[in-house]
């Protein structure tokens, strides 16, 4: 078992915002079970801000903590601000992650970005078809 920071352990023990929004505005999924980590983010957007964010994660302690931290960091941010969240920032907020976990389990920001991109794409399509 790797050495995790207290913050990683806190998020692993008490993960925030678990779940799946039933009628999401955007969905983002990264990873696959073969690699050992899979994250699915769903977001609700209101007035250009992330009003709600939930996630489901199949993965190790780091992956669960990362998902939880990303969900906290993203909530209430504008889409532009949320798109600027990087995996490096997430790791820093968690008080660091073991070196070998940086690439495989630290995919939370990627999953969030995918959900935002999904929202943007859907709305663009809607806007175009509506015109």
């Amino acid at each position: 078992m790797p050495q995790y920071s207290d913050k990683v352990m806190d998020h692993f023990t008490n993960p925030r915002n678990i779940g799946e929004i039933t009628d999401p505005d955007g969905v983002g999924e990264v990873g696959n079970p073969v690699c050992g980590d899979m994250m699915k983010f769903t977001i609700k957007v209101k007035d250009g801000r992330i009003e709600d964010v939930k996630y489901l994660t199949f993965g190790c302690g780091a992956a669960i903590s990362v998902s939880s931290m990303v969900s906290e960091m993203a909530k209430g941010k504008t889409l532009e601000e949320a798109l600027k969240i990087t995996n490096k920032q997430v790791a820093e907020e968690l008080g660091g992650l073991p070196g070998n976990k940086m690439h495989c389990s630290n995919l939370g920001a990627d999953a969030l970005h995918k959900a935002i991109e999904d929202y943007m794409e859907k709305n663009k399509i809607k806007a175009e078809s509506g015109s």
Partner: protein, 398 residues
């Protein structure tokens, strides 16, 4: 909080009687066994007594036992030592896909140095294909190395049959018996092996102890050169106290092997039954019966092993996992992959290795906790949510 160790293969306490036995060799009898004066006498005697005791465990002549620092070193001495000394006879080595990394990694090194390696596949229970083994033999084959039992899924190989195939062709046969020694009866004569590896910490001896049985006439090139310790096959002053402890642990294991195995297997089976009956979506890995008594390997569907391990650790239950996140190489268990366990199930595997301590009263707690932990992690698993949606979709209309 109570601590329940279900990871004895990783670490077990040294038997109290073994510790007592070792202590004088750190203090009163600290002499060098190679010394010509009287300070070396007792340590020298301790080494020979340990050799006799390990010999009894294996039904082997004591003079054919060499002490090493670990099973990994014994495996290296057996394989690299044989490969070097038999180079003029051939360059082909046969092993299996589910061997320990102390075998597989050195075979990769030997391949880089001009040796040819064939790894025989195993079936879904972990049994080696004897036909494929026989087919793989060439004129250049100098060594067959197949484990006695697998440390992860516990499967016990038909070693006698493998040895017979090797003997018929005049090929040296090595077996890594680390997971088996002390838990199932072993006889180098009945098994027909030429080289056999074991480690003391697997049967309540100290860590940092290993031994290699070398049949008379088998020539090995030493890995560590220097003095003439251990018949010149392993130079360096012997770690007398630890070797004495390993010997004593071997003596105790030999005398109690039948009883210990019976008791531990009964507890393992109760644990298995309780878990399978009460925690949904568990899958047994390896053969239901043909496995070392203390081994149980289960996959917990829809969740990942390290997260399970961490959650169980929080409630005092210590297990191991074959998930990639618990491996330094970040690859999931090569053994589970070789027996055809799907990757997502291999990621959620839990390895339980029991000790001879009584855990009967703890089984309800272990079952309850695994059920809770699995439920909690499944609640946040996209795979489980996907399963639930599909189950709902496919449910018959009322």
């Amino acid at each position: 909080m109570k601590t329940i160790n279900l990871d004895y293969a990783a670490a077990a306490p040294v038997e109290p009687a073994v510790l007592e036995y070792m202590l004088p060799y750190f203090k009163e009898y600290y002499g060098n066994p190679s010394s010509g004066h009287s300070l070396g006498e007792r340590p020298r005697k301790a080494l020979e007594e340990a050799r006799e005791k390990v010999g009894i465990l294996l039904e082997a002549e004591p003079k054919n036992i060499i002490f090493t620092s670990s099973a990994s070193e014994s495996n290296n001495l057996a394989i690299k030592g044989l490969a070097a000394s038999a180079k003029n006879k051939g360059n082909h080595i046969i092993s299996s896909t589910i061997e320990h990394f102390s075998i597989l990694n050195q075979l990769k090194t030997l391949q880089k140095n001009g040796y040819e390696v064939t790894l025989i596949p195993v079936d879904r229970h972990g049994f080696l294909s004897l036909d494929k083994l026989a087919e793989a033999i060439k004129d250049e084959t100098i060594l067959i190395s197949i484990q006695t039992a697998n440390p992860e899924i516990g499967t016990i190989q038909p070693v006698e049959k493998i040895a017979a195939i090797a003997r018929e062709k005049g090929i040296t046969f090595h077996t890594d018996a680390t997971a088996a020694a002390g838990w199932i009866p072993l006889s180098v004569e009945k098994m027909g092996v030429d080289l056999l590896t074991l480690a003391g910490d697997q049967f309540y001896g100290p860590k940092g102890t290993g031994a290699l049985f070398i049949r008379r006439g088998v020539r090995l090139t030493p890995l560590i050169e220097g003095g003439i310790q251990e018949r010149g096959l392993r130079a360096g002053t012997e770690n007398v106290a630890l070797i004495a402890g390993m010997g004593e642990a071997a003596r105790i294991a030999s005398e109690n092997i039948e009883q210990n195995s019976k008791v531990v297997a009964a507890q393992r089976d109760k644990l298995k039954e309780s878990l399978l009956a009460n925690v949904p979506h568990l899958h047994l890995n390896g053969h239901p019966e043909q496995r070392v008594p203390r081994n149980l390997n289960l996959s917990v569907e829809f969740v990942e092993g390290e997260a399970l391990l961490m959650r169980l650790n929080m409630v005092g239950i210590h297990v191991s996992s074959g998930s990639s996140c618990t491996s330094q190489a970040l690859k999931s268990s090569h053994v589970l992959s070789a027996i055809g366990v799907p990757p997502e199930l291999a990621q959620g595997s839990l390895l339980f290795t029991l000790g001879k301590e009584n855990i009967a009263d703890d089984i309800p707690y272990i079952t309850e906790q695994l059920g809770q932990v699995a439920g909690l992690l499944r609640n946040m698993s996209p795979l489980y949510h996907q399963y639930l949606k599909e189950a709902e979709k496919n449910a018959p209309v009322q």
